[in-house]
Symmetry: C2
Subunit: 388 residues, 2 copies
């Protein structure tokens, strides 16, 4: 397998934005091109991650549109979709193409433009990724499933409502220092715990928003990295793991562990020849507060049931031993579904390069991890990155 480097990254602000989907793609991509010194280079391939652009915006065929808009024709171009893990899956596909020797220079861009449709429409579009047979037709929503999981986790491990609120509080504390975050305002435990109930025990502040936004990465082979003239200004890709679980939550063995994360993480660590102990900074998929705790345990960062203790001890804060979601996570940075996985890698890239916003920069991390959920917990990608 040939080594693959992340040589540049770009990201738009996340939030409810005026720009159209193609403008978002262009803005993040040109930043990534510029940050890698690859503007004007001949790209072999473009991977575009986006979940439902046709339905959210009426614009389809985004892979070709991206090649055209960026002046990268005749590069090959492919759209990748695995629900909200589309961004990481596109990264994985781009990684494979360089690792195989088929390509030397690849652009990966993730985007979603969710605010053009009416409020109720977005959740109807997103609901198609759930099991209609077993969930949607009985009225289940992603939040309802997350609520059941939270209740079960509370039952098994004694987690309290106020403890769970520490996750969104941390997310907003970090997001407040991230100029690209959807929400840049701190919140309190009281506000989360006593917020409007969406699905008991989860309140509005346990749930990530729907956002507009895009992020982009430039991936390169060793040869291309040298040819562009980069000495050590890049991040190494160390491992990628991808796994599925049964589509419907009711068919899974556990409600408080997501096996696709467990398997994807094992695969990524095996490929990287690392263990969870090596990880210095993480982006975990916290679409709902409870997921951050479960993700920590499934990735193997803490023992089962011990996640909240680590949070309470400040271990996962920016200045802790294992900072998690330093940029605000899905909760505060925002969640344009197809864009999220790429944004997570953007965030880890900036951490490992030492160019994160100064208040969020972790002290010289060596190894970073991203974890991205597709579907409701059934299509996960875990990736590991190393400081050069």
């Amino acid at each position: 397998m040939k080594p693959v480097h992340v040589i540049g990254a770009g990201m738009t602000k996340f939030g409810v934005l005026e720009e159209g989907i193609l403008e978002l793609v262009q803005s993040a991509s040109l930043q990534a091109l510029d940050s890698s010194g690859s503007r004007g280079e001949s790209f072999d391939h473009i991977f575009v991650a986006t979940q439902n652009p046709d339905e959210f915006t009426g614009v389809g065929h985004l892979s070709t549109l991206t090649a055209d808009r960026l002046g990268l024709v005749p590069a090959g171009a492919t759209r990748v979709e695995t629900g909200p893990s589309s961004g990481s899956s596109a990264f994985e596909a781009g990684y494979a193409m360089i690792a195989s020797g088929m390509a030397d220079l690849v652009l990966v861009v993730g985007v979603e433009k969710m605010s053009e449709v009416e409020r109720g429409t977005a959740s109807k579009i997103l609901a198609k990724m759930m099991s209609n047979e077993n969930e949607t037709k009985y009225g289940a929503t992603p939040t309802a499933l997350a609520a059941m999981i939270a209740r079960r986790y509370m039952h098994e491990y004694g987690l309290t409502r106020d403890e769970l609120s520490l996750i969104p509080v941390k997310a907003h504390r970090n997001g407040a220092k991230n100029p690209l975050a959807h929400f840049q305002k701190e919140i309190t435990v009281d506000k989360v715990s006593n917020g409007r109930v969406v699905a008991d025990p989860l309140t509005l502040f346990d749930c990530c928003p729907t956002s507009d936004g895009a992020a982009a990465l430039v991936l390169a082979s060793e040869d291309k990295t040298k040819q562009i003239g980069l000495a050590d200004e890049y991040v190494k890709v160390l491992g990628v793991g991808h796994a599925t679980d049964f589509h419907a939550v009711q068919h899974r063995l556990s409600m408080t562990s997501m096996n696709a994360t467990v398997v994807a993480a094992q695969r990524a660590f095996k490929m990287a020849k690392l263990t969870p102990k090596h990880v210095d900074v993480c982006e975990l998929h916290d679409a709902f507060s409870i997921l951050e705790l479960i993700d920590m345990e499934d990735v193997g960062l803490v023992e089962r049931g011990q996640a909240i203790a680590a949070v309470k001890d400040g271990v996962t804060a920016v200045d802790g031993d294992l900072p998690i979601n330093t940029t605000g996570g899905l909760k505060a940075r925002g969640h344009p579904t197809g864009g999220t996985g790429v944004a997570q890698i953007y965030d880890i890239y900036t951490q490992l390069m030492g160019i994160a916003p100064s208040a969020l920069q972790v002290d010289t991390p060596q190894i970073g991890l991203t974890h991205n959920i597709g579907g409701f917990g059934n299509n996960m990608v875990v990736a590991l990155f190393g400081r050069n």
Copy 2:
């Protein structure tokens, strides 16, 4: 780059079918698994090609659903979409994953279920892949663009209406012998030339149908091929090329050549260290009759303007020197958009394995080529395969 083999393939009948999208996926996939002796094996990854399943069927997240339905959880699973070339792009992504050493056993399945929506709705869904800015908002449709191209080709090369009709006539002649084809009835030059005009000079019989259907491939590394116990019952992948062109037809340099095909073919031939002269059997993307002629020239099989002479001489018939679309092509085999690219490879696999329907089997072909168009001529994949 590690060698990649096609060790099995499966395909449903194409047409207006009763089965739902997931049943089609399952049927083609299980055939592919059985034909490769890989039922019960642990798959590393699944790639699902489908253009607009959410809109055509209301079912999204098809990659995970496929893993679940086939009992292949926790395999990684990814949906790939590049419009009607989705199938070939998914094949390319699966190829890259094995060629890199990341995976040893990959299922590629392509599907579209287009008949559940009302007649007018399908073309509205598909229109999103065109340029709204430059084409759709002025009333252009894929057929209208194909008609302009046909008119220009007639002007440049003297092609007549009756000559053009030879393409659908050949497609239906072959389709009539293919039990999986959407249309299994021969037609005449008179019927095509004097059919209902859809966009002058094209008639109904110049245009492929919208179809339901699925096709699937099992790809394996050398090690996995041996481990499964296959001696020489597989086809070798020799080359893959992928290229884009400007999104709107009006932005391209030529109306009678599609540069994305030219570049994709050059890339595939370069990788395979072959030239067009080596090709023994082809599947070309004939969504409209005129495209088969342009494809032949762009791939480099004949000189510019010479395609129709080859057709008239019988060169492209099943018993000719260069059989093209032996199974009926998109015109007669049918065109479930996400399924087509995989079906083309299914067809070339059966030709190289010597297991095509006997009336359609070419005499021991050594090299086969597939050519798949995405968008209106702007996202092309060309692949080359070799008899073992």
